[in-house]
């Protein structure tokens, strides 16, 4: 699993209230996506193009259990690379099949607009623009497989444990 695209950057301790603000609480998943960072970076979500990569700092995704990872996925971002990922947020990434990986000092290795190449199997992150490579922390094979399989709901659906996706549930 490999992604290449231009990057956007956000800093340390990005919390889930910023990714999925309370104002969007009752909206459908598709309607929630444009609300990402609206309270701290108005106008940003409109500039994101499908496939773009998000680069974060320390403890990305701290805060509540709300499906914030799903909003990043629905916004069209291909993946997330952060210096460190909040444990609960990371669970949601894997389970909602939004690829996310930790890579020490990734924040300083990129300028916004640079092109990144993120390889989840090799656990490497390359800045194509400056031609520098960084080692990421490999995902445990079990979790990488779960990501590739489309997350937990795909698994449960196949087993007949849950019903199909609806327009409302996204």
């Amino acid at each position: 699993m490999k992604f290449q695209s231009r990057v956007w950057k956000c800093g340390d301790n990005i919390n889930t209230d910023l990714i999925l603000p309370i104002q969007a609480f009752y909206l459908t998943p598709a309607e929630q996506a444009p609300w990402v960072f609206r309270n701290n970076r108005p106008g940003w979500s409109e500039q994101v193009k499908p496939g773009d990569i998000l680069i974060g700092g320390r403890n990305f995704g701290m805060g509540s259990s709300r499906p914030a990872a799903r909003s990043l996925k629905n916004l069209g971002l291909s993946c997330l690379v952060a210096h460190s990922l909040n444990g609960l947020f990371f669970r949601n990434c894997v389970n909602f099949a939004f690829p996310a990986i930790e890579c020490a000092n990734v924040f300083d290795a990129f300028e916004e607009g640079d092109i990144a190449e993120v390889d989840f199997d090799a656990a490497t992150v390359r800045n194509v623009t400056s031609d520098k490579s960084l080692a990421a922390i490999a995902l445990p094979p079990k979790l990488l497989d779960l990501l590739k399989a489309g997350g937990i709901y795909a698994l449960l659906e196949k087993e007949g444990a849950i019903g199909p996706k609806t327009a409302a549930s996204g």
Partner: protein, 434 residues
């Protein structure tokens, strides 16, 4: 041969029998392994699964067709009760259908046993020592006060756990806080937490373990404030070591058998830190971040407030309401301030009613709401407007957390909030309690 000799002997032959922390021991037991270490990924059996009203929102819920063990499931309506909007009423309806379909016995609907899930865990002894409890709310670590692995997970995790009574965890390192001494008057466990969060910042990917002689001076409610707030440290698990006060508490509320877990004497910690409760003072977290943001309440003295709030899974206990009432007794909330008090459960509410606490609060001008998350999450019953300032005894002060993103949220203890409500400005509670 003593334990130290065994360790030395074993390590000579390359056998690693270094001890485990409380969290590691429970994870090992529940994954059927002799030993787990930081860095391991383990598949764990889940004893208790709690679903709450937000799980049933149509923009999240996936219809569940099979559950593994209905008796392991608890359903709680807490975030928006009674229903705040049509969307939350719809979610409640879906939740009631789920309960009926699978014959869930432990169901906390709007009414007699209503309350915030993490408070109900305490009220009913749902968090059994040595067990694994999941809920898809980030403050589930609250239950760690009962020496269990309690973790907030995501919506997909909780659906998976309901279907299979199983989940995965990455084992993290543990930081141990050794509590010593006794809190001075008007200083609370919330201040102790703010001290830790201010000094050490986040504990992402790590577990937090509390113990030491100082825990004896803390009630279960006070300890619970510490484990609940550990969510703000981004801790994986927060656990207390067991003592008789806790074990008696659980036994009095839940007849189910359990096995409490003690850390090994040679457990390996990422850090061992002492917290001297006796030298602490009232602190507040400044707006927008809980960690690395604590200052003495005196620094914020005089800051005008529009709203004061006491409630949540961290500070809606009987101790918290009693402390607030002792400050408000015979006094009046400033006419410029709305003081909102939300007991964490109807059980707490009834106790506070019987002991006269509610009357003192209402006589002082507080608005007491039914038990719910309410204003804590900006859902209802005290949402903040543009440019307002609030002082809150809850869990989070993030931008936009309680309503409009331009509102400023200071966070402190219930004593600090009550004192501030009287003056209309942020106030050191020692002004009223000495």
């Amino acid at each position: 041969m003593g334990l130290a000799d065994v360790v030395r002997f074993a390590s000579r032959f390359g056998v690693n029998i270094m001890g485990m922390t409380v969290a590691e021991k429970i994870l090992a037991k529940k994954s059927g392994l002799k030993k787990v270490s930081p860095g391991d990924l383990v598949t764990v059996a889940v004893d208790t699964v709690i679903l709450f009203d937000n799980n049933f929102m149509t923009n999240r819920w996936r219809e569940v067709l099979k559950v593994n063990d209905p008796d392991s499931i608890i359903v709680v309506f807490d975030h928006r009760v009674p229903a705040a909007t049509q969307a939350s009423a719809t979610a409640h309806g879906i939740g009631r259908e789920f309960v009926a379909r699978f014959g869930i016995k432990r169901f906390h609907d709007v009414g007699y046993s209503q309350g915030i899930a993490h408070q109900l865990v305490a009220d009913h002894g749902y968090g059994l020592p040595g067990s694994v409890l999941l809920c898809s709310d980030s403050h589930t670590c609250s239950g760690g006060v009962f020496n269990c692995i309690a973790r907030g997970v995501g919506q997909p995790d909780i659906v998976y756990a309901a279907c299979k009574n199983e989940t995965w965890f990455r084992v993290g390192e543990t930081v141990r806080y050794e509590l010593i001494g006794k809190l001075p008057r008007a200083v609370t466990a919330k201040d102790a937490f703010l001290q830790i969060a201010g000094e050490h910042g986040d504990h992402a990917t790590m577990n937090v373990e509390f113990g030491g002689a100082g825990m004896q001076s803390l009630s279960i409610n006070a300890r619970k404030t510490l484990t609940t707030m550990a969510a703000e440290l981004s801790a994986e698990f927060a656990t207390f070591e067991p003592d008789d006060v806790m074990l008696d508490w659980v036994r009095a509320r839940n007849p189910a058998p359990f096995e409490a877990v003690y850390a090994d004497a040679d457990a390996k910690y990422a850090a061992l830190r002492k917290v001297n409760l006796g030298i602490l003072e009232p602190l507040v977290a400044y707006p927008d971040s809980v960690v690395n943001n604590s200052r003495p309440v005196g620094d914020a003295k005089g800051t005008k407030i529009d709203q004061a709030f006491i409630g949540s899974c961290a500070n809606g206990t009987l101790d918290d309401l009693e402390l607030a009432a002792s400050i408000l007794d015979g006094r009046r909330v400033s006419s410029k301030v709305r003081l909102i008090v939300t007991p964490a459960s109807q059980t707490v509410y009834r106790q506070a009613l019987k002991s006269g606490i509610i009357a003192k609060l209402i006589d002082a001008g507080a608005v007491v709401t039914p038990a719910t998350c309410g204003a804590c999450g900006g859902g209802h019953l005290g949402v903040l407007g543009p440019n307002e300032t609030c002082i809150t005894a809850t869990t989070r002060n993030f931008k936009g957390r309680m309503g409009d993103p331009s509102a400023k949220i200071y966070m402190g203890s219930p004593a600090t909030v009550a004192a501030s409500a009287i003056n209309g400005t942020i106030t050191d509670p020692r002004e009223f309690l000495n």
